[in-house]
Symmetry: C2
Subunit: 247 residues, 2 copies
C-alpha cells in the first residue's frame, strides 16, 4: 500500500514534516500534487480541499481546510501534527506507551507554533500580500523573533533533550520519533533563514545540534536529502532567506 | 476525581476551550492558577512550565512549553487541541469511531490556526510589545483578517456543518463534540472583537449561528456563562475589542 500525501509541489513547507517521517520509515508514498499522471497534480489536490468552500463540488462530506493532508481509503486526514500522530504507530516513529505518544504530539504541536512564527517573520501582515508590501513590519517582527522567540523555543527543546533520562539525542524515549525528525527540520529551516543568528546561538543548544546531526546521518534521511525528492529551501516556503531581516 | 487545569487566571484565552469542555460535561475540575489555597495560584503553575527552561528546578522530566496544561497523576498534558483530544472520550464529547474522533481533532486544530491569527490582529509584531507599539501594523493586519480570513475560516465551518449528513447543528456526527463548543467560543470571540463585521457577515453562516445559539442554550453552558467562573472578555486576552481595528 502506498500512502497518498497531498501538499504544494514546490516548497518544503508543512508537508516536509510528513515527508521526513515517511522517508525515515522507508514507507512507500505518492506525493500526489507533484505527480503528472492522471488524477495527480495541484488541481487534483485542490478538488479535495474546502478552501473555497462555497464552490466545492466534491462528494466527500469531510474535507480539509488546507494542505497538507493524507488520503487513506476515503478518509482525508489533515493538519500536520495530526497526520504525524496518525502515521507514527504504523511507521514505528513513536513510543508504544500512551504517555510517550502524547508527549511526542505535544512537542510536535509546540514546533507547529514555532513554524507559524517563523512564517510570520516575512509575512507579519498577511499571507495574501507580497513580502515587499510588508517589509517594514517584517523587519520589526524578525528582530524580536531572533532575539526572543528562537531562544525561547530552542531553549525549551534543549531542555527536553537534557532531561530525557533515556537518551539525550532523542526527545522522547530511546528511539527515533517523528518529533526528532521535525526538530531536525526546524534547525535546518532556521539555519537557512537566519544563518548568522543560528551560528551565534547554537553553542547554547549542544544536544539539539547533536540530534540534528544524528538525524541527518540516518541512511534513509541522508539518501532522501541527496535525492531530487527533497525540494530545496526557497523564497516561497515557510523558512525564507531575506538577508535584510537578519541585521 | 477532579481534573486539574492550569491556565492564566485573568483571561479566557486558550484555556477557555478546555473550560468549556469540562463545564459542558459537568466534570469536576480545579482551575489551579485561579485558586488561593496552598499549591495553587500562578506561581504553582509557572513551576510546572519550562518557559524559562534554563532556570527550571522541577523534578518532572516532561514539562510543557506553556499553559494551558492538564495535570493527570504525574503527567502534564499541554497544547489546547491535544488536551481536548485526551479529555473528549472521558467527557463523551467526541464520536466513538476513530475517523470521527480524528475529524473532530482536525477541526479543532483548524480553529487553533484561526485563534493565532485573531491574536495577531492586535499583536502582529510581537507578543512582548504593547499593542500601542504596533498599532499601525495591527490596523493593516486587522483589515485583511476581517476582509479575507474570517470569511475563509467561517465559510469552511459553515461548509462542514452543511455537509454533515447527520446533523446541521453539529460539526461531527449527531451529538455535541468539543469542536462544537470551541466553535461557539470562536463566534463569541469574533463578535466581541469585531462586532460590526460579524453583524454584517453572519447572514452567510446560518448553520454556524444556529450552532452557536444551540451551545449557548445548553443548560450547563448557560449556567457556566452566567457564573463567576466565566471570565469576561477583556483587553488582555486573545480576542480584544479595539474599535480602531474595525474601520
Amino acid at each position: 500500500m502506498h500512502y497518498e500525501l497531498y501538499y504544494w509541489p514546490e516548497i518544503q513547507g508543512r508537508g516536509e514534516f510528513v515527508r521526513l517521517a515517511l522517508e525515515a520509515a522507508g514507507a512507500p508514498y505518492i506525493d500526489v500534487a507533484r505527480g503528472s499522471k492522471k488524477g495527480q497534480g495541484v488541481e487534483a489536490m485542490m478538488k479535495l480541499t474546502a478552501g473555497g468552500a462555497r464552490s466545492v463540488k466534491a462528494d466527500q462530506t469531510r474535507l480539509p481546510f488546507a494542505p497538507p493532508f493524507l488520503k487513506v481509503d476515503e478518509e482525508l486526514i489533515a493538519q500536520t501534527s495530526h497526520i504525524l500522530d496518525y502515521l507514527a504507530p504504523q511507521l514505528k516513529l513513536v513510543p508504544r506507551d500512551a504517555a510517550g505518544r502524547r508527549f511526542t504530539q505535544q512537542l510536535q504541536l509546540t514546533m507547529a507554533d514555532l513554524v507559524v512564527e517563523a512564517h510570520d517573520t516575512h509575512h507579519p501582515i498577511a499571507s495574501s500580500l507580497y513580502y515587499e508590501e510588508q517589509k517594514t513590519a517584517a523587519r520589526k517582527r524578525s528582530k524580536i523573533f531572533i532575539a526572543e522567540r528562537i531562544p525561547k523555543f530552542l531553549d525549551y527543546f534543549e531542555h527536553v533533550l537534557t532531561r530525557n533520562p533515556h537518551s539525550h539525542s532523542h526527545l522522547v524515549g530511546t528511539s527515533l520519533t517523528y518529533a526528532d525528525l521535525s526538530l531536525f527540520q526546524v534547525v535546518e529551516g532556521l539555519r537557512y533563514a537566519f544563518p548568522k543568528s543560528m551560528k551565534r546561538g547554537e553553542k547554547a543548544w549542544p544536544h539539539l545540534v547533536a540530534l540534528h546531526d544524528h538525524v541527518a546521518a540516518l541512511p534513509r534521511i541522508a539518501a532522501y536529502l541527496a535525492s531530487p525528492r527533497r525540494i530545496a529551501f526557497n523564497e516561497n516556503g515557510i523558512f525564507r532567506r531575506y538577508p535584510e531581516l537578519e541585521r
